[in-house]
């Protein structure tokens, strides 16, 4: 009996660690606790790996999300649900009500575009505008007779707006909105802040509470939060274009921790590092975002850091002490 209960608790602990690792960076204290737990008993590591293997299997199928989701849906319920939702959408559309129900789930069901980490996607929208999703990004589209609205839930998009005077083109995030008329630009969003980089012509940026707005032209950049915004140093539009085309991260004298964060968003699984320990290490590099293993190796060759891979889901980066 006691063996059973201790097995159960290993299972619960392992599940907690797997979940914790997928929720984000561990604190130094947590990292040490995890390390201790893992090494305490061989069953700990074995259980952790067993659970991770299922998560990894699901992770690896992310590039084929829609078919995988359909296959995993239990047979009966799925058919009923799909018909039901479709029915509602058709009725609403015929009544011209769909656009009034913003946030309604049926809309999400049809409009969502997602990309997996390290996976880029370009789409031509119904108005002829082109939109490229960076890896690990998600958008909703809201197009109707009066508006063309792209909601960026997370990640980055490069938009090439087709001209349409009657319908403004807006990229909206939780932090604010970016309104364009015939223009090409990049919007990124994460952690409460959005950033705009202009490749061509002009965009009007506005904070979500509408208290602040700003016009940004070619080469200009701006940050936007819920109730504030401001300018950032200019960029070179040509090199930004190139980085998007080649799926590269171009950085110049950027703290390593920031670069690792950007790479981590393009990886399946968890990239762990202690930002404080890496302080003072800056990077100037062009790194492949669709092959982050290689990007990490390039960094490890150039900097005093070491890569450790525990499971396919978990890579840790440590600073190597150099003699002074």
């Amino acid at each position: 009996m006691s063996a059973v209960s201790s097995d159960n608790s290993i299972e619960a602990q392992a599940a907690e660690w797997v979940l914790r690792l997928s929720e984000g960076e561990l604190s130094e204290q947590e990292r040490l606790a995890f390390e201790r737990w893992r090494q305490f008993d061989s069953r700990h590591q074995a259980t952790f790996e067993r659970i991770s293997s299922v998560v990894a299997q699901l992770h690896n199928l992310r590039s084929q999300r829609a078919p995988v989701r359909a296959a995993l849906q239990p047979p009966r319920k799925r058919r009923i649900a799909a018909r039901h939702v479709l029915g509602i959408a058709v009725v609403l559309a015929s009544l011209g009500l769909v656009s009034n129900l913003s946030g309604y789930r049926a809309e999400d069901l049809f409009a969502d575009l997602h990309t997996a980490p390290g996976e880029w996607q370009t789409r031509t929208l119904e108005d002829g505008s082109r939109i490229t999703l960076y890896g690990n990004s998600a958008i909703d589209l809201h197009f109707d007779a009066g508006q063309r609205r792209v909601e960026l839930r997370r990640g980055q998009v490069l938009v090439d707006v087709a001209h349409d005077q009657s319908r403004p083109f807006v990229v909206a995030t939780a932090a604010g909105s970016f309104k364009a008329l015939g223009t090409r630009f990049v919007v990124s969003h994460g952690e409460g802040q959005s950033e705009l980089s202009m490749l061509q012509s002009t965009v009007a940026a506005q904070s979500a509470d509408r208290s602040q707005s700003l016009e940004v032209s070619k080469g200009g950049r701006a940050w936007v939060r819920h109730d504030a915004l401001g300018r950032l140093p200019d960029i070179d539009p040509a090199s930004l274009e190139q980085a998007w085309q080649r799926h590269q991260l171009v950085v110049e004298q950027v703290p390593l921790a920031q670069v690792l964060e950007a790479l981590g968003r393009q990886r399946r699984g968890h990239l762990q590092f202690d930002a404080a320990a890496l302080a003072g290490l800056n990077v100037s590099a062009v790194l492949p975002l669709d092959d982050t293993d290689r990007a990490l190796q390039l960094l490890a060759q150039a900097l005093p850091i070491r890569l450790q891979q525990y499971t396919p889901l978990w890579t840790r980066i440590e600073r190597v002490q150099t003699e002074k």
């Binding site: 979940l19 299922v54 299997q57 699901l58 084929q64 078919p67 359909a70 799925r78």
Partner: protein, 172 residues
Amino acid sequence: MAAVEPSFQHSLQALYREHHGWLFSWLRRKLRCPQNAADTAHDTFLRILGSRDSLIGIREPRAYLSTTARRLIIDKARRQHIEDAYLRELALTVDALEGHQSPEQILATLEALEQIAFVLEGLSEKVRQAFVAYYLDEQTQVQIAQRLEVSERMVRKYLLQALMHCNQALDV
């Protein structure tokens, strides 16, 4: 009906004697239903009896039993559904995927799907949805809470439940 030859019967009996208890408790943990577990354990041995596979030289009897039980649980109709649903949606989204899937890749994916479906078997609908939304669709726990109309704490509980279930399904 041909008589079962003694050696097969012997090894089947030995397999039953030594591992039926284990199979039953494994299935009970997996299916969370003693009745269903007892039936499935019984059917597993029936299927082995019916298949007349050679039982001599099976090195991992428990892995053999759990694989057979797994096939029973994810029955033929279900496997067919997985394959159909996957291939149908794949045809719809093929433009969006970079390059196309080779037959080998498709087979490997189907195999992975079958295994994941087995692991998810027995989870309640909301727990299953939360797990797939989090690890496949990469929705946040906040988004999942809104969609399932439960608290964020509940979503976290669902995810832990699903992860523990993964362990039970694979712990042979």
